[in-house]
């Protein structure tokens, strides 16, 4: 879903940067307040893993492929959507500057879609689902919806940019990302979160797996 430079006119691309920058700033603030010696290696390992897995496009039929985005996964592990914004910003920076994957002018839009929208929708859907279902189903649902909504927003951006017609764009982006969201995002997020919940439940900063009588802050103290 990496938007190239040519798909959005410069003025609009700047608007998406302006929207994304405060979120990037907040994600750095999150890092400053929350990261400690224990969490830095986890963050770095997840960031590297997400960069690599984004190179692994999975065929979804219809002559189309898709890959995981990963913002929801990072947000669930750290119990904060800001972690997802931070990691996706770093990944998109390297992808854009070193590999031409996603434009430089459109990087703001890409950070907005893949880091902010998919991470926030994914994480808060997970939190809502987690109240009534298990970790794996909630992770699958959150990651799936997060990716799908970000693709819908992307289709609307493409319409505003004059690149896609609205209806056809929504149908095509929606159809492909409903499938990519289930396989590439939902299933992988569910498998990884479930594996972490089983082997390292202490790593998940999620109030459901941490002792409930302790607040989040106390549990880390």
């Amino acid at each position: 879903m990496h938007i190239p430079d040519s798909f959005i006119p410069l003025t609009q691309a700047i608007v998406y940067w302006v929207i994304a920058i405060p979120f990037i700033f907040m994600s750095m603030k999150w890092a400053k307040n929350e990261l400690d010696e224990m969490k830095v290696p986890v963050l770095a390992a997840l960031a590297a893993g997400i960069f690599a897995i984004q190179a692994m496009n999975i065929p979804i039929g219809m002559g189309t492929s898709g890959h995981m985005v990963g913002a929801t996964l990072v947000a669930i592990v750290f119990g904060s959507p800001w972690a997802g914004v931070l990691v996706l910003t770093l990944v998109l920076l390297v992808q854009g500057f070193a590999f031409g994957d996603g434009g430089i002018t459109t990087m703001g839009a890409n950070i907005l879609n893949m880091g902010i929208i998919s991470g926030f929708v994914g994480y808060y859907t997970y939190v809502a689902l987690r109240k009534s279902t298990g970790t794996s189903i909630a992770a699958l649902g959150g990651a799936w919806l997060g990716l799908f909504i970000s693709a819908i927003v992307c289709a609307v951006q493409m319409y505003i940019a004059g690149t896609f017609p609205l209806r056809e764009g929504l149908i095509a982006m929606g159809t492909y990302h409903l499938i990519i969201g289930f396989i590439g995002e939902g299933l992988i997020t569910a498998v990884v979160i479930t594996a972490i919940a089983k082997s390292r439940p202490d790593l998940l900063e999620d109030n459901f797996t941490v002792r409930p009588e302790k607040s989040k802050k106390e549990a880390h103290a």
Binding site: M56, T64, H67, G100
Partner: protein, 101 residues
């Protein structure tokens, strides 16, 4: 959280990421991704070729995760370089923020 086992997680993450870097050039689907595929379907042909001809705002050293003249080996290397760069940047950034706190 124990520091020792988090380092285990760190090394496991690196191993998985590098394994993906090696496998991706061979296993990843060459089909266009969702956005490119949608673009191919909904944009008129003449406009599409116009968009494709436009140069990116900045030319990148390893476009499309490849190194010129190095084939699949170059792709493996490009993705591995990217993986290590992301690892180093996030680790470095984490350390900087950690020190300030």
């Amino acid at each position: 959280m124990s520091g020792k086992s988090n380092m285990k997680f760190f090394y496991l993450g690196i191993v998985i990421a590098l394994l993906l870097s090696v496998l991706a050039p061979f296993l990843a689907s060459p089909d266009p991704d969702g956005l490119e595929s949608a673009a191919g379907g909904v944009i008129e042909e003449s406009k599409m070729s116009e968009l494709e001809e436009m140069e990116p705002a900045l030319s990148s050293p390893m476009p499309d995760y490849s190194i010129e003249g190095m084939g699949k080996g170059g792709e493996v290397m490009a993705i591995a370089i990217g993986t290590i760069a992301v690892l180093a940047i996030s680790f470095g950034l984490g350390k900087v923020f950690n020190k300030k706190a």
